[in-house]
């Protein structure tokens, strides 16, 4: 992108005000996404936001951009279809931890190994919010939820590590308590050519009484602030992916420049599919028929 002319946040204001609980981390994500799009000067008509189902997945309705509020767990698949049909669009996926790391994990992993040029923002509140508080795939061990009254016994998913071993090429984490930092991380993700993950600590103030704003504030630190951290150092990134407890890193873990799927797809050489003409040319048709006679 040469010199972009930035757009004001207001360009993305939706008719509908978010109905998230007061204090929900998702407000911060919405704000940062608008800031990121504005920074990059992406017109609402060129921004396409796809989500699944969940509190977090209601986001597309709260931003002035094209989008599909799809099925629980299927946002990545729908977004892949949209992107392949019209790769002029900036396609951003927004959803929750249950949506993306639970029911949708298969699409997540396979999309990463395809390295499609998509940005995936996961509002990871370590709980199923919309369904009123059951354990999610990122709920920590021993945490009590509506579905784990005796405490969760399952080892949580590590999205950053999963992304690292699966082929994603921009792997990052942000925190709703740091909207400006999150906006930068998101802008980088959208600008990146390839599959970009932004895992966001977005507290559910209604159902997750453990992983709260204070809980994260005490722990998170920025990888950028770590002297000599090299986002191209894969092994280092793996180590950082497992850092959890008193200190939890946010920011960009890893960035690669592997070829993207769109570049390897001949059908897209002539530009977006949606702009190709529909008619069938007679000679070609006759050649095709010939194969059968």
């Amino acid at each position: 992108m040469a010199t972009v002319l930035e757009l004001p946040i207001a360009s993305y204001e939706s008719v509908v005000d978010p109905d998230w609980c007061p204090g929900c981390g998702d407000f911060g994500v919405l704000k940062s996404l608008k800031m990121a799009a504005g920074k990059l000067g992406i017109k609402p008509k060129d921004l396409f936001v796809v989500s699944g189902i969940g509190c977090s997945s209601n986001l597309p309705g709260f931003i002035h951009a094209y989008g599909v509020h799809s099925l629980h767990g299927r946002a990545v698949a729908v977004a892949s279809g949209v992107k392949l049909a019209n790769h002029d669009l900036h396609v951003v996926i927004t959803g929750g931890d249950g949506d993306g790391y639970g029911i949708g994990i298969g699409h997540f992993i396979h999309a990463m190994r395809r390295n499609l040029d998509l940005t995936y923002i996961v509002m990871n509140n370590q709980i199923y919010g919309l369904t009123t508080g059951q354990a999610s795939p990122t709920t920590m061990k021993d945490v009590r939820t509506k579905s784990t009254p005796r405490g969760n016994v399952e080892h949580p998913i590590n999205p950053i590590a999963l992304a690292l071993v699966s082929g994603a090429t921009y792997i990052s984490r942000a925190f709703s308590g740091e909207p400006n930092h999150m906006a930068d991380v998101m802008a980088g993700a959208i600008a990146h050519r390839g599959f970009a993950l932004v895992d966001v600590f977005s507290p559910c103030v209604t159902y997750n009484m453990i992983n709260t704003y204070p809980w994260f504030k005490q722990r998170v630190y920025k990888l950028e602030s770590e002297t000599g951290y090299d986002v191209t150092d894969y092994d280092r990134a793996i180590d950082k992916a497992f850092e959890w407890g008193d200190r939890i890193p946010i920011g960009l873990f890893y960035k690669g420049d592997q070829a993207i799927y769109e570049d390897s797809e001949p059908a897209l050489k002539k530009g977006p599919l949606v702009h190709q003409s529909l008619g069938m040319n007679q000679e070609l048709f006759e050649d095709l028929i010939e194969e059968f006679v």
């Binding site: 099925l71 698949a77 070609l284 095709l288 028929i289």
Partner: protein, 560 residues
């Protein structure tokens, strides 16, 4: 045209040593060639081409195996007496799946997604091997859920998108088919039926997924279901499916089956045309800023809301799987509104009623005032036509009423025609007569008599004729195990448990049987000398293999 004959594959190919299971089909091919009255050499070449990429050994093996099938058939049966007038006009020899693929690219399909599944895979193979020339993007996905959701995403973004699968994969697609209905995304879904339920008999044919197509996903939403009857029809149906999908903005399901999709047929020389009609429906390409808010889901008398594609200026909207108002704002959450919900549900559903007007009416084919009317759907049209002809030559005047458009359904016209029929018989490849039930549900017309087949083998004219005559004679065929069945079952028992040294010998039916039912008493004898080695008892009613009493131990199962 198809046939059903017992082909003891293992026996036939024993001489050739252990072969990949997949070679069964090659045996059948060889046999089929004989029945079609073709000379073997005319096709050895074809097999060559087909398998050449796999190296000469594979080619030779295939030719050998096909030859074995050919010779076996030659030895055991008579050809069907086809006359092949190899005229100057060279006619395409094409399968239903190839016709669907060709129809799709001709209609401007630019996106095809799939996950391999017999008998739909050959669409994927054709598409991917012609992708570059046809400028189509072909995506093999991680599963059928991704397949259909990607196709919906592509359709929503404005390209003509299709995906294909079979029943098991279709089951996984159903949730998203409801999504397409809700967000009004155009998409074409091909489902190719095979023997079910579940994994079932994947390489055999059946027509038992009609209920599944009708019951795909929760709630009431608009969809169209079309069942083509032959390759030419499959081509036309596919083109029509894309037009309907975009004109009415909904999912269109093309329901085929293994028989139609995988068996090549010779069609008319110029039956398939490149300059098909393409209707994209009402599209909003420009929306001046002064126009006020664009309403993606505007309530209109036709139910059709002019569609603006993502990327258009001033028509930004979000398509939601939650129910919504005219502008796409959710009414499922804070802004709940019963009357808006009622009207949008009516708007979506009225589209299907409108679509019905675009669909050809069912037509009675054959003599108007026939004694018997054979009713069917999908791939059996040709077979039923032949059956009707045979019946007529046998002095029973018969005609046929065949259905292609399953949903929406021409209830009035169907009823008008059927009420005039003297005697109706429904012919289907499934156990429960799913179409007869569907017809009753849609039109209220009940067909009492049925000719059903669900053993995985294709419907045949002779079988239909036999069934129809039995019905007219007032004694419909029973489900008893015939002597022929019993022999086949004995072969199965031998092959699967006793190795291949034995074969069924003399068979007697014992009316007292084992007390609970009559039985078939089958002597098993050695293949070579015909020496009796033991007896097998098979129930006439249940088909249960009651016991195997060896005269001397021959089966490893005996040791176990």
């Amino acid at each position: 045209h198809v046939l059903s004959v017992p082909l003891p594959v293992n026996d036939i190919t024993r001489a050739l040593g252990k072969l990949p299971a997949i070679m069964q089909n090659t045996v059948a091919t060889g046999a089929a060639l004989f029945f079609l009255g073709l000379e073997f050499d005319t096709v050895a070449g074809v097999l060559g081409d087909t398998f050449s990429h796999k190296g000469q050994t594979v080619v030779d093996q295939n030719v050998q195996v096909a030859r074995a099938g050919f010779d076996y058939a030659k030895e055991k049966f008579v050809p069907l007496g086809y006359r092949w007038n190899f005229s100057k006009i060279r006619r395409p020899f094409i399968t239903g799946n190839e016709a669907i693929s060709l129809g799709a690219v001709t209609a401007g399909c630019k996106f095809y997604s799939a996950y391999p599944m017999t008998p739909a895979s050959s669409i994927l193979h054709w598409m991917v091997s012609h992708a570059d020339r046809c400028g189509i993007l072909v995506k093999q996905c991680e599963d059928e859920i991704a397949v259909v959701n990607m196709a919906i995403g592509a359709g929503h973004a404005g390209v003509r998108a299709m995906c294909g699968t079979s029943g098991g994969g279709f089951a996984l697609m159903t949730e998203a088919i409801g999504l397409a209905g809700m967000i009004e995304a155009p998409v074409v879904i091909v489902t190719v039926q095979r023997g079910g339920p579940s994994t079932g008999i994947p390489t055999k044919t059946e027509q038992a997924d009609l209920n599944q197509a009708m019951g795909a996903s929760q709630g009431d939403f608009p969809r169209i279901i079309i069942a083509p009857s032959d390759p030419t029809d499959a081509f036309d149906t596919t083109v029509e499916a894309f037009n309907l999908a975009e004109k009415y903005q909904l999912p269109v399901i093309i329901i085929s089956d293994l028989l139609l999709s995988e068996h090549p047929e010779t069609i008319e020389a110029h039956a398939l045309k490149h300059d098909v009609q393409i209707e994209r429906g009402e599209l909003v390409t420009e929306w001046p800023a002064g126009n006020g808010n664009y309403k993606r889901y505007a309530f209109t008398p036709s139910g059709i809301s002019p569609r603006a594609l993502p990327g258009t200026e001033n028509t930004v909207y979000v398509a939601g799987s939650d129910d919504h108002d005219e502008e796409g704002i959710l009414i499922s959450d804070v802004f709940t509104s019963p009357p808006v919900r009622r009207k949008i549900q009516e708007k979506r559903m009225v589209k299907v009623e409108r679509a019905l007007e675009d669909l050809d009416l069912p037509k009675l084919e054959g003599p108007e005032d026939a004694e018997v009317t054979l009713v069917g759907w999908g791939s059996t049209k040709g077979v039923i036509k032949e059956a009707a002809e045979i019946l007529r030559t046998d002095g029973i005047s018969a005609n046929q009423l065949h259905f292609k458009y399953l949903h929406p359904f021409h209830s009035k016209e169907a009823l008008r025609i059927l009420e005039k029929c003297k005697r109706t018989i429904c012919v289907e490849c499934n156990y429960s007569a799913q179409f007869a039930r569907h017809l009753r549900a849609e039109s209220g017309f009940s067909i009492k008599d049925t000719v059903l087949k669900y053993d995985g083998e294709p419907m045949e004219p002779a079988y239909i004729v036999k069934g129809v005559k039995a019905i007219l004679a007032g004694k419909p065929l029973s489900l008893e195990v015939t002597q022929e069945d019993a022999r086949e079952m004995a072969y199965h028992y031998i092959r699967s448990r006793l190795g291949d040294s034995l074969r069924p010998g003399s068979m007697t039916r014992n009316e007292n049987g084992n007390g609970s039912e009559p039985t078939w008493h089958i002597e098993l004898v050695t293949r070579d000398k015909g020496e009796r080695r033991g007896d097998l008892i098979i129930g006439v009613e249940t088909g249960s293999t009651y016991s195997w009493q060896p005269v001397s131990t021959v089966s490893k199962r005996q040791e176990a």
